[in-house]
C-alpha cells in the first residue's frame, strides 16, 4: 500500500542519516582517544581538557547555530570533561598486575556476587511493589501529592540517616521485630530499596502517564475487567519504563554506601559458589574498607573491576531492552 511504501522510504532515509551520524560519532571518539593517549604519554592531560573543550566548540559551531552552537557545546563539554577525564585517567592508571590479582581474589568474587545479587533483589522488590503504586499515582487519587512526597523523601534524606531509619523500622525493638536487619541480606535489601525506590517508581509512573486513558476505556468496553486491562494493556505498554526503572534502581543500589554501611557493613549471605553461608561486603563498603586500609592501587583495581562489570551489565540490559521492544512503528 501507499502508506507502507512511504514509511519504507522514510525508514531508509532515517537509516542512511543514522549511518552518517554513527560514522561521525566514531570519528570523533577515535580522535579523542588518540588525543588523550598522546596527552597521557606526554604527561599533559590538562592539554587534553583544553583540546576537548575546543573540539566541542568547533563541532557545535559547525553542526548547530554558529557562535550559539559553539558556546552551548563548549559549556556542555565542561561537565563532560569533569566526568570523563577523571574516568579516563582512572582507567589509564590501573596496574594490570594488581587488577589481575584482584580479579582472581575469592574475596572480591564474593563481593561482586553480593553487589549484583542484593541490588537485583532490591530492584525486584521495588518493581513488584512500586509498579502498583506508580499506577495509582499516575491515575491520581485524593492525597496523591502527599504520597508522592513520601516516595521522593529518600532523595533528600542523607543515606546514613536512611540506614538509621531502617534500624528503627525493622529488627529488635522495632515495628517489624520478626525481621532482623543488622548484617543480614534482608537488611541490606531494605536499605537499598529505601534509597532506590524513588528512581524506579517515578520512571514507571511516567510510563503509566504516557498510556492514554482511552486505551483502558477501549479495553474495558470490549470486555476486559480492570485487572485484565492492567495486565493486557497497561503492563505491556510500560514494560520498557519498568525495565528502565529497574535498571536505575539496580544501578543506584550498586553504588549505595551510606545506608548499607549503617545497616549491613558486613553481611552474611549464602554463596552458591562455595555452597555455604559466608560473610562479605557490598562493593562500595569493600572499596572504602580497602582504601582506608591504606592501599589506593588495590581499592582502585577493585573499583575498576566493579566499573567494568557494571558497564557490561548496563549494556547487556540495554541490548535486551532493545531486543524486547514491541514491533510498532513509532
Amino acid at each position: 500500500m501507499g502508506t507502507g511504501e512511504a514509511r519504507g522510504g522514510e525508514t531508509r532515509s532515517v537509516a542512511a542519516g543514522w549511518l552518517g551520524r554513527s560514522s561521525l560519532v566514531l570519528a570523533v571518539l577515535t580522535l579523542h582517544a588518540v588525543a588523550f593517549a598522546v596527552a597521557w604519554l606526554l604527561d599533559a592531560t590538562t592539554w587534553y581538557a583544553v583540546f576537548a573543550l575546543a573540539s566541542a566548540a568547533a563541532l557545535g559551531y559547525v553542526a548547530s547555530d554558529g557562535p550559539f552552537g559553539a558556546a552551548a557545546a563548549a559549556l556542555g563539554a565542561v561537565l563532560l570533561v569533569a566526568v570523563g577525564l577523571p574516568l579516563a585517567t582512572f582507567v589509564a592508571r590501573q596496574e594490570p598486575s594488581v587488577v589481575a590479582e584482584k580479579a582472581l581474589d575469592p574475596e572480591v568474587h564474593r563481593m561482586l556476587y553480593l553487589t549484583v545479587y542484593a541490588p537485583l533483589l532490591a530492584a525486584l522488590v521495588t518493581l513488584v511493589f512500586g509498579t502498583p503504586l506508580a499506577y495509582l499515582l499516575s491515575r491520581g487519587f485524593a492525597g496523591d501529592s502527599l504520597v508522592q512526597s513520601l516516595v521522593d523523601l529518600p532523595l533528600v534524606v542523607p543515606h546514613s540517616v536512611a540506614g538509621l531509619l531502617i534500624l528503627f523500622g525493622f529488627g529488635q525493638g522495632a515495628a517489624f521485630e520478626f525481621l532482623p536487619v543488622l548484617g543480614t541480606v534482608p537488611g541490606m535489601v531494605l536499605a537499598l530499596t529505601f534509597v532506590s525506590a524513588p528512581f524506579a517508581v517515578n520512571v514507571v509512573r511516567e510510563g503509566f502517564d504516557a498510556v492514554d486513558r482511552r486505551l483502558e476505556y477501549a479495553a474495558r468496553i470490549h470486555g476486559a475487567s480492570r485487572w485484565e486491562t492492567f495486565r493486557r494493556v497497561d503492563l505491556p505498554l510500560v514494560k520498557r519504563a519498568m525495565l528502565t526503572g529497574g535498571v536505575m534502581a539496580w544501578a543506584r543500589s550498586v553504588s549505595e554506601f551510606g545506608a548499607v554501611a549503617v545497616v549491613a557493613y558486613n553481611v552474611e549471605f549464602f554463596y552458591p559458589v562455595a555452597g555455604e553461608t559466608v560473610t562479605g561486603q557490598h562493593a562500595p563498603v569493600f572499596i572504602f574498607n580497602t582504601y582506608t586500609s591504606g592501599s589506593l592501587p588495590e581499592s582502585s583495581a577493585v573499583g575498576f573491576i566493579l566499573l567494568t562489570m557494571s558497564v557490561a551489565i548496563f549494556l547487556l540490559v540495554r541490548w535486551v531492552a532493545g531486543d524486547t521492544s514491541v514491533g510498532v512503528g513509532s
Binding site: G4, R214, A218, A219, I221, H222, A224, V326, G329
Partner: protein, 337 residues
C-alpha cells in the same frame, strides 16, 4: 435493541469550573441517534457516562434492562473513539480479537472476515502506528463489531480524518450502522444529517432539542440550535406587518437572492465563497432588520438576531452589490416560546 439513558453527572478538573451533564437519550432498536453539539457541550462526557467510564446518577437501560450498576465490560456496548484507541502493542488482527475471550457464548471472532468487510483485510498483521487514520478507524470499527454489542457508541470517529477519507468512511459507517442501535456523537452537522435517524442537540451539558433530522434542521427550537445547525437567525422590524418582531430561522438553501426592491429585505453582498456546486453568499442586511430589542425578560441569546444572512447562489453577485433577499414564509421557522 433499544437504548435509553438518563445521565446526571458533575465533572471536575483541576483549574476548571465543575461541569454538569444532565441529559437523556433515547435510541430505538436499529436506530442511529446523533448527539450534535459544539466542543465543550458535554457530549463526549455523556457518551462516556453511558458506557460506564464515569460514575454518575441516572439510569442506562438496554431493551428495558437496567445496566446502570454494571461495569463497562458487562454493558455489552461497542465504542469507537475519536483517536481510534487501538492497542499499539498488538497487531490489527489481535486488536480485532481483543474481546474474543470475554464473549459469553465462547464464540470465535473471525478477524479476517470483519476486516475484509471493511476493506482492510490486508492490514491484519500490521501494527496500528503504521496505519493511516482511515485505516485505523476501520480497524477500530471492526474491533467493536467483533464483540457483537447491543449498541454502538461512537465518539466523533471521523473528526480526525481528512475530507476525502471522512467522506468514504461516512459511507461505510452508514452501511455498518444500518439496522444497528447506535449513539453517535459529533459536532459536524453534515455527518449528523447523513447518518441520523434522530438527532439530539446538546448545549452546556443539556439536550436542548431532540427529534428527526428534519425537525432539528428545518424547525430549530432555539436560536442556538438554528445557528449550530447552519440556519440564519433573522428578525424583522416590529413595524413589518404580519411578521412580528421575534427572530426566525431560515436555512441558507431556502433564501433567494433577487433584484433590489423585489425581496422581503435588502442588503449589500459582503462575500461569495465557493462551496462545492454553489456559492455561499453573505449579505449585510439593511436598517432595522436584525435589530431586536429584548424586553421580554427571556434569555438575551434567545432573541438575538444576526445582521448578516447567508444564501446559496449558482451565479453569485459580486461583493458590494445591492441585492434583494426573498424569505419564503413557508420556510421560516419560528422558535418555541
Amino acid at each position: 435493541m433499544s437504548l435509553h439513558a438518563e445521565i446526571r453527572a458533575r465533572f471536575t478538573a483541576p483549574g476548571a469550573e465543575p461541569f454538569v451533564v444532565d441529559a437523556a437519550l433515547d435510541a430505538d432498536a436499529g436506530e442511529t441517534l446523533v448527539v450534535l453539539g459544539p466542543s465543550g457541550s458535554g457530549k463526549t462526557l455523556l457518551l462516556e457516562a453511558v458506557a460506564g467510564f464515569h460514575s454518575c446518577e441516572g439510569r442506562v437501560a438496554v431493551d428495558g434492562r437496567d445496566v446502570s450498576d454494571l461495569p463497562p465490560e458487562a454493558r455489552n456496548f461497542g465504542f469507537v473513539f475519536q483517536d481510534y484507541a487501538l492497542f499499539p502493542h498488538m497487531t490489527v488482527a489481535e486488536n480485532v480479537r481483543f474481546g474474543e475471550r470475554y464473549l459469553d457464548d465462547g464464540a470465535e471472532v473471525d478477524a479476517r472476515s470483519l476486516l475484509d468487510s471493511l476493506g482492510v483485510a490486508d492490514l491484519a498483521d500490521r501494527y496500528p502506528p503504521t496505519l493511516s487514520g482511515g485505516e485505523r478507524q476501520r480497524v477500530a470499527l471492526a474491533r467493536s463489531l467483533a464483540v457483537a454489542p447491543d449498541a454502538f457508541l461512537l465518539d466523533e470517529p471521523l473528526s480526525a480524518l481528512d475530507a476525502p477519507t471522512r467522506a468514504a468512511l461516512r459511507g461505510d459507517l452508514a452501511d455498518t450502522l444500518a439496522d444497528r442501535t447506535a449513539v453517535y456523537v459529533t459536532h459536524d452537522r453534515t455527518t449528523a444529517r447523513a447518518l441520523a435517524d434522530r438527532v439530539a442537540v446538546m448545549h452546556d451539558g443539556q439536550v436542548v432539542q431532540h427529534g428527526t433530522p428534519d425537525d432539528v434542521f428545518e424547525r430549530p427550537a432555539s436560536p442556538f440550535v438554528a445557528r449550530f445547525t447552519g440556519s440564519n437567525v433573522v428578525a424583522f422590524d416590529a413595524a413589518d406587518a404580519g411578521r412580528g418582531s421575534d427572530p426566525v430561522a431560515i436555512r441558507p438553501e431556502h433564501v433567494a437572492l433577487v433584484a433590489p426592491g423585489r425581496g422581503d429585505v435588502e442588503g449589500v453582498v459582503e462575500r461569495a465563497v465557493r462551496e462545492d456546486a454553489a456559492f455561499r453568499v453573505t449579505v449585510a442586511l439593511d436598517g432595522p432588520v436584525g435589530a431586536v430589542a429584548d424586553g421580554s425578560g427571556r434569555d438575551g441569546d434567545a432573541l438575538a438576531a444576526d445582521r448578516t444572512l447567508d444564501a446559496f447562489a449558482v451565479d453569485p453577485p459580486a461583493p458590494g452589490d445591492r441585492v434583494g433577499v426573498a424569505l419564503p414564509e413557508e420556510r421560516l421557522a419560528r422558535f418555541d416560546e
